[in-house]
């Protein structure tokens, strides 16, 4: 069972990593924020699966922290996004 | 094995961060690059901690505790740097 759960964690991690393509490609601000959100949700799933597989102390609490902070980061990204539609100076 | 892989990642991040710090002109991007550099140093330290596993622990807790304080201090330094950049920009605006 442990191996199955670890494999599942690896699979979710792989899909999250694939989702990063969208952070890198954009093109819009919303796409980048979305991909960051995927990183949060997928990351929580990875941590929970690892917790069930290995029982390392604190992983479930790390997932809980991530759930709170991913929401916080998303709000920050949306609130901080440049809203004039124009290219901010590099 | 994990320790070596992430230690090497730390080395790479130090290189990437230093490059950004020296090449970019935008102050905010320099602060970001500096944070990448710092993250690399922490990872190298974390690799050392992981290699020090023993006495029933998966890693040496002393470097880990120092990394914890390091992250908080690095954050404090970042806030100060950002505040300086913003103050400088405001001063330029006025003058």
């Amino acid at each position: 069972m442990t191996e199955i759960l670890l494999g599942a964690a690896l699979l979710v991690l792989a899909t999250v990593a694939a989702g990063l393509v969208r952070v890198l490609r954009g093109p819009g601000v919303a796409d980048r924020v979305m991909a960051a959100q995927l990183l949060g949700t997928g990351g929580i799933a990875v941590l929970l699966l690892l917790d069930a597989a290995t029982g390392i102390a604190g992983l479930a609490d790390a997932a809980l922290t991530l759930a709170l902070l991913a929401a916080f980061a998303t709000v920050a990204l949306v609130r901080g996004a440049p809203d004039d539609g124009g290219e901010p100076p590099a | 094995m994990s320790a070596t892989i992430f230690g090497l990642l730390g080395a790479a991040l130090v290189g990437i961060g230093l490059f950004g710090l020296l090449v970019r002109r935008d102050a905010l991007l320099r602060i970001l690059a500096f944070n990448l550099l710092g993250g690399g140093v922490f990872l190298v330290f974390g690799a050392v901690a992981r290699r020090g596993a023993g006495a029933g622990l998966p890693a040496d807790p002393v470097p880990q505790a120092i990394i914890l304080t390091g992250i908080v201090v690095a954050f404090a330094a970042t806030t100060l740097a950002v505040a300086l950049v913003l103050r400088l920009a405001a001063a330029k605006d006025r003058g």
Binding site: M1, G19, V29, A30, L38, A71 | -
Partner: protein, 97 residues
């Protein structure tokens, strides 16, 4: 009993992974921001919900069960709030370069 639990976990977690893969595929392949947002917000949270559901019977204590449910609830609440904000952002056509 443990066999039953194991089978349940494997089935729900596998279903969850299907949704994660679907969400990521949508995020990468869909042509415009709105449909990508649609793919991500639905599929991912269903995926996480199924993973949480599959792990529930394995939780060691009532606290563990509560924590799992709380995590899913937090993610749902925050993405429910973030979704409309993201949609508005996408409609403004903001570009980050």
């Amino acid at each position: 009993m443990t066999l039953l639990v194991d089978v349940f976990t494997v089935l729900t977690v596998a279903a969850g992974i299907v949704f994660f893969v679907a969400g990521t595929a949508g995020l990468i392949r869909f042509p415009d921001t709105s449909s990508r947002l649609h793919a991500l917000t639905k599929a991912d949270h269903l995926g996480l919900g199924l993973v949480v559901l599959g792990l529930l019977p394995r939780a060691e204590s009532l606290g563990g069960v509560l924590r799992l449910v709380a995590i899913w609830g937090l993610v749902l609440a925050s993405s429910a709030a973030a979704g409309p904000m993201l949609a508005r952002l996408a409609r403004r056509g903001a570009r980050g370069g």
